[in-house]
């Protein structure tokens, strides 16, 4: 045996580490669930949907005002205060009192329930609006809630490992890998887009018969709103614009089938406050109609026959079982406070992903083999030693990426291929230095030690500059660029370990066996050491 040294021991451990930790990644396939930390394939390699969404926060503000109106209405009626002209006007809720004696009660009620909001009072006319702080909080809440809601919905949809994350202050990143069909993609998109804004609204029976001749402006002047039926857009309803209650009081939603007709339906339950409001309202409104409105469309508007307690409501409408399932998922995960819109989107079919994998693996194998063959031809045994380091380098990159559970993308693959080229560089520099010293007539030991010494500063400085560039790339890059920068950074660090330390150790270990007469075999040079003296 040669002389074992710390370098070769460290190298062997690194090699072993590389092999062991890259096994889970290398053996994974779509069907089997390999245990252990592994690299996930990026969407460009396995297909899937990537979306960057933004939230229309202005709508969140609008609906916040609306719900202020709803609870104001409830509070006023609960305190039996007579009011008029309660309506939403731009970014404020206004109403008038009819009885001067109520002013004190109303002031007290507003202070208690709406203390955070801005209250303007002009005689007996009140105007409530949001403070700047409230508006900011509402906007932030809308984004956070959208992230949470979309995540819940995708998880309930049951596809493998969707990613939903806030990006920056106002963007949402959604990544869904492994979408197989166009239909699934459409369903997922619909599920994300669904506001799932549920409202119970009373029909304005006094003016309902004029709905078809009424303009939207006229309806607005009465504090009403005109909404269409979901199945038949010709059917219109005139509803009080301030809803009785909304989806925030919902506790559960399920898809089911109606007993008699076997038609799919969505049933949902209200919390105790919602149930009470619902019970009180239905008691007062027997003989009138109440509309169930989802995302601005009326699903059903039955006549109220009697008080409905218990807070269980069902919607039957013209939907397929799949739609009923998706609606109940959306309802259960809560409404989006504000609609989301697409800022950027990438959708990659699974077949393209497979093609991409194939192409980059071919490039990797061809490039790698070419380098390996070249190194052996040019440097002889020294080339083999470099190649061992190169293989170790590849395993190390895979292992480190597996440990971080990093995502391998197409540019990431390109990064690995490029690293192969750069790792070779270090060994070329070292081998050239050793050859140079051998030509000058140095002894073998001296040529190797001195060669590594001379080569070190060049390799070090060159690698550090590249590392600086790739760290900056990682910090400023997005998505695919990050993957590229990550593999290059890991590759540079790994090549320092394998190409400098590792090969050095191997030389020291093999030194006693290296025959000074066979420099052609060992270093590929046409000269035997000491055959010619120093120049």
């Amino acid at each position: 045996m040669g002389n074992l040294n710390y370098r070769v021991v460290v190298f062997l451990f690194a090699f072993l580490f590389g092999v062991v930790f890259s096994i889970p990644s290398l053996t994974q396939s779509a069907d089997s669930n390999t245990t252990g930390k592994k690299i996930t394939l990026g969407l460009d390699l396995q297909g899937g949907l990537h979306m960057l969404l933004s939230v229309k926060t202005e709508v969140a503000l609008e609906s916040k005002i609306k719900s202020m109106g709803t609870s104001l209405k409830y509070n006023l009626e609960d305190a039996e205060i007579v009011y008029d002209a309660l309506k939403i006007d731009g970014n404020k809720v206004t109403f008038e009192l009819l009885d001067n004696d109520d002013v004190k009660d109303v002031d007290a009620m507003l202070a208690e329930s709406f203390g955070d909001s801005k209250v303007l009072k002009k005689g007996m006319t009140y105007a409530l609006s949001l403070t700047d702080k409230q508006a900011k909080e509402t906007e932030k809440a809308a984004i956070d809630q959208a992230v949470e809601t979309i995540r819940n919905r995708l998880n309930m949809f049951g596809l493998a490992e969707p990613t939903v994350a806030k990006q920056g202050s106002d963007r949402i990143l959604v990544e869904v890998p492994g979408i197989k069909t166009q239909k699934d993609e459409d369903r997922i998109k619909a599920l994300i887009a669904k506001a799932a804004h549920l409202q119970m609204m009373a029909v304005d029976e006094d003016r309902a018969n004029r709905v078809y001749s009424m303009s939207e402006e006229e309806a607005k002047s009465y504090g009403d709103i005109i909404l269409a039926d979901v199945a038949n857009k010709e059917i219109k309803y005139l509803l009080y614009s301030v809803p009785i209650l909304d989806g925030s009081m919902l506790t559960d939603a399920k898809m089911g089938y109606e007993e008699k007709t076997k038609r799919p339906m969505v049933t949902f339950s209200l919390n105790s406050q919602g149930a009470k409001i619902f019970g009180d309202f239905t008691e007062k409104s027997v003989g009138k109609r109440m509309a169930v409105v989802l995302d601005g469309e009326v699903y059903t508007a039955p006549n109220i026959v009697q008080r409905i307690g218990g807070g269980n409501v069902q919607i039957t409408g013209a939907f397929t079982p799949q739609e009923a399932t998706d609606i109940s998922i959306a309802l259960r995960s809560g409404a989006l406070l504000a609609p989301v819109q697409v800022e950027s989107q990438r959708s990659i079919g699974p077949s393209l992903g497979a093609d991409n994998i194939k192409a980059s693996i071919i490039a990797l194998v061809v490039g790698f083999l070419a380098v390996i063959v070249f190194m052996v031809l040019y440097y002889g045994a020294a080339g083999i030693i470099s190649n061992v380091a190169l293989v170790a380098n590849l395993f190390l990159i895979l292992a480190v990426m597996s440990m971080f559970e990093a995502t391998l993308t197409l540019p990431g693959m390109a990064g690995i291929i490029l690293t192969v080229g750069m790792a070779v560089d270090a060994n070329v520099i070292i081998n050239e230095r050793i050859r140079e010293l051998l030509h000058e007539g140095s002894s073998l030991t001296k040529a190797i030690e001195q060669g590594y010494n001379n080569a070190f500063t060049a390799i070090w400085d060159a690698n550090v500059t590249t590392l600086i560039a790739s760290v900056v790339l990682f910090a400023y890059g997005t998505g695919p660029i990050k993957g590229f920068a990550l593999t290059i950074s890991i590759g540079i660090l790994a090549s320092m370990l394998t190409a400098i330390l590792g090969t050095h150790g191997i030389y020291q270990w093999l030194l006693p066996k290296i025959d000074k007469k066979k420099l052609k075999f060992w270093f590929g040079i046409n000269k035997d050491a000491n055959a010619k003296g120093a120049k």
């Binding site: 819109q341 061809v366 070249f374 540019p411 560089d425 060049a458 590249t466 660029i481």
Partner: protein, 323 residues
Amino acid sequence: MEVFKYEKAIGFMANAKKTATVSAFLVIASLVLLFTKGLNYGIDFAGGTIIQVKYEGVAPIEKVRSIVAQDAKYAGATVTKFGTDSEIVIRTKEASKSISGGAKVEVQKMLKDTGTFEIRRVDLVGPAVGEELKTKGLLSMFFSILGILIYLSFRFEWRFAVASIVALIHDVSIAMGMLALFQVDINLPILAAILTILGYSLNDTVIVFDRIREGIRTIKSPNMSEVIDESVTHTLSRTTLTSLTTFFVVLTLFLFGGEIIHGFSFTLLVGVVVGTYSSIFVASPILMWLNFSVTEFREKEAAATKRQKEREKQRAQFEQGTI
């Protein structure tokens, strides 16, 4: 095998003026191209939608063109072949904000009579995101150059840092000039490629400079051009071998890596060639022209070593308690 063997220094610096003229011409030509033809920003930066469609058999590209042209929403859209004969891409400047429906469904409907096809990829980037990416791209370029400048000034000397940055600008402008000449779509991977060129060019320059730094210490001549010639000749074998292996690896990427990384590998190919060239023919002469004085550097180094020695001596004395 041995191809390069150091026999005697090659007179690189004697021809430096000629090569510098060639470089200056290339850079100016690239800048002219950049300002006249301009870069062809892809959707990542300009915003828009790309739809990649694969047909069974040859894609009826003319038919698709005429159908797409009829749709008002797709006015100004381009339809081009993508890699093989069976694949096409449709590019528009539009980027729909709505989640459901969108380009995929529309195109599916539009092309339904053109044969059996599969929509393999839809990329959509809104204008706001595109702007952000542009800013981030420029920032990342700026900060990498800054970081590298600082590191090189610290490790070498300011003239080395300046010379390497000039070589860097030379390489990046020629690469971008080629991108403008061939009207390659500038997307995120191209930005990554340009930043890689940045790293590669410096990598190569640093290795040549390292040898020159060593040459200043070991070569007896006080003449900078001789020092450079001898040092560069010494690195010639390494430079050529590494460039060739890297070039070959990138070439396999270019040939087998698939259409999506075509632009990426093309940019790198250009970068490897100019990056290697500039280390020898741009960075090194500039070092010479910046009046780098070998004797001065040696004196400074000698003084530094002396100071260091004195300090050590003092410390030794201090530890022995003689002070």
